[in-house]
Each structure stands twice: as structure tokens, then as C-alpha cells.
Subunit: 153 residues, 2 copies
């Protein structure tokens, strides 16, 4: 039987390797997270996951997200807003962050020259990964703002 593909397969493997159970809830949460690129909150993950597996608690979602994080399958995204946000850990990529609405978009353009940034070993830090955050206004907020500007005159 072929191994499951993608992050689901990775999770199953990692669980077996560490001897921790592959529960329906863990599958559901990962499936809910793997399908999207919008860095959902725990509550959004809960909504999506319990659509497929009704009865799931938000507490379970938090627990599972923590587990997936420890397994290295998911991770919480650095952002400036309230409430944690999560994504499937699918390798290094960059983020477009809207300073107005807080939306975070993935930027899966490796921008190779960016990755050659000299990793500073300052202060005894050992760098494992580099993420570039491009902060600015998303299209929607840019429009909203220029409309606002016009109104103010």
C-alpha cells in the first residue's frame, strides 16, 4: 500500500515513529489546515475541522495544533494581531502582511537571492530558517484607504 501523500502522510509517519496515536481529530485538524493558505486562527480551524468531524471541541483543536507543531507538521505564524494563527509547515516561504487588516498571504516565490542573505551568527544565535515579511497594504485596504482619502478632501 502506498504511503499517504503530503502532510497527512508525514503526520502519520511521525506519529507511528513516536508511538503516539493517529486519532480522527488529528487527521481532521490537519486536513482542515492543509487545505488552505490563509493562516487561520484556532477557531477557524475548529470550524473547518468540525464540519467534517462534528462534535470536536475547540480545546481539542488547540491541543492537536500543539501536537502538530511539536511533530513539525504545523506551526504558528508570526503575526502582529490578536490570536495565534497556524499553517502547515511546508518549508520556507515568505509572507505578505497587510498592516491594515492583518491579512497574511503566502509568497511562494523563493526569491533565491533573498535566501542567500548572510545568516548572522550574532549573539550566538544559530539560524535555522529565514522568513521575509513584506509589510504593506493589500489591494482591498489600498482601495478602501484611497477612497477614504478622497472623502477627506
Amino acid at each position: 500500500m502506498a504511503a499517504e501523500t503530503g502532510s497527512m502522510g508525514r503526520m502519520v509517519d511521525l506519529c507511528r515513529r513516536r508511538g503516539i496515536p493517529v486519532t480522527a481529530q488529528r487527521r481532521a485538524v490537519l486536513r482542515a489546515l492543509a487545505g488552505r493558505r490563509d493562516h487561520p486562527t484556532a477557531e477557524q480551524v475548529h470550524a473547518a475541522a468540525s464540519a467534517r468531524l462534528p462534535g470536536m471541541t475547540l480545546a481539542t483543536v488547540y491541543r492537536v495544533l500543539g501536537t502538530l507543531e511539536r511533530l513539525g507538521v504545523a506551526r504558528r505564524v508570526a503575526h502582529a494581531g490578536t490570536g495565534a494563527r497556524f499553517e502547515v509547515d511546508s518549508g520556507a516561504h515568505h509572507h505578505l502582511v497587510c498592516t491594515s487588516c492583518g491579512r497574511i498571504l503566502d509568497l511562494r516565490d523563493p526569491a533565491p537571492e533573498a535566501l542567500s542573505i548572510p545568516a548572522p551568527r550574532a549573539s550566538g544565535f544559530s539560524i535555522q530558517e529565514i522568513t521575509i515579511q513584506f509589510r504593506g497594504l493589500c489591494r482591498a485596504c489600498r482601495r478602501r484607504r484611497s477612497a477614504h482619502e478622497r472623502r477627506r478632501r
Copy 2:
């Protein structure tokens, strides 16, 4: 009379320009924030600020931090942990983020080649600022972890 220097002066100017009062609390919070590079939480700012201006409420600190943010004097730092963290907005700089303890250190080495990263105008985004996040282990956590490894064998 010479204008006040640094972020304090900037705040005072911005307040006057917008006709909002320069209160003792706003000064105290900014002073508490301007002095440090460790990206404190609201509670830490509260502790520092109320040391100089006793009686300040945490709610006020939150309000003031929001105001300073709107003025462009302070901002909340993107990070993956629980609870917002703040810094004085002192221009673009980069962050060393410890994935183990969550500590965030400033990296004020402009790394000029990094700043020439082609700002992607993807999806209608207008980029205003670029921050690079170097994720890894800080010295302390690296030591702790290798000690742990040794113990596990």
C-alpha cells in the same frame, strides 16, 4: 527652544499636529518602551511605566499602545507566541527569533543586500517595509538543548 529628541519628540509633534493631548501616561508608556530592545508585552510595559508614574492601569497601557501605534511611534511586533509585543518604530530592522523560548532580538545590521530584495507587487500588494525574521535557537536555548541531548543518551 529645541524640539525634544527621538521618539518622544516625534510623539509630541504628532500629537500637537493631530490635536490630541500629550498626557503623562502617553509619555510614561513611550519612555518605558523607548528604553528597551526586548519587545515587551503590554504587562511588561505596564510594570515599567507605572514604576515612574504610579497608579497607571493596564487598560490604559493597552489604550496608549494603540494610540502610539496609530501615530506611527510604536508598533506591535510580529511573533508566534501568546500575547502582543511592542517596540518603538525606529525604522526597518530585522529580528532574530528564538523558536524555543520566543525571545526576539533586534538585528540592526541593515544588511543592505537584503533590502534590495525585489519587492513583489504580487496580488496588488503595495510594500512599505521589509523585515527579515531569522528563526533559530538563541545561545541559552542551544546550550540547554544540547545538555538535554546528552542526558537522553
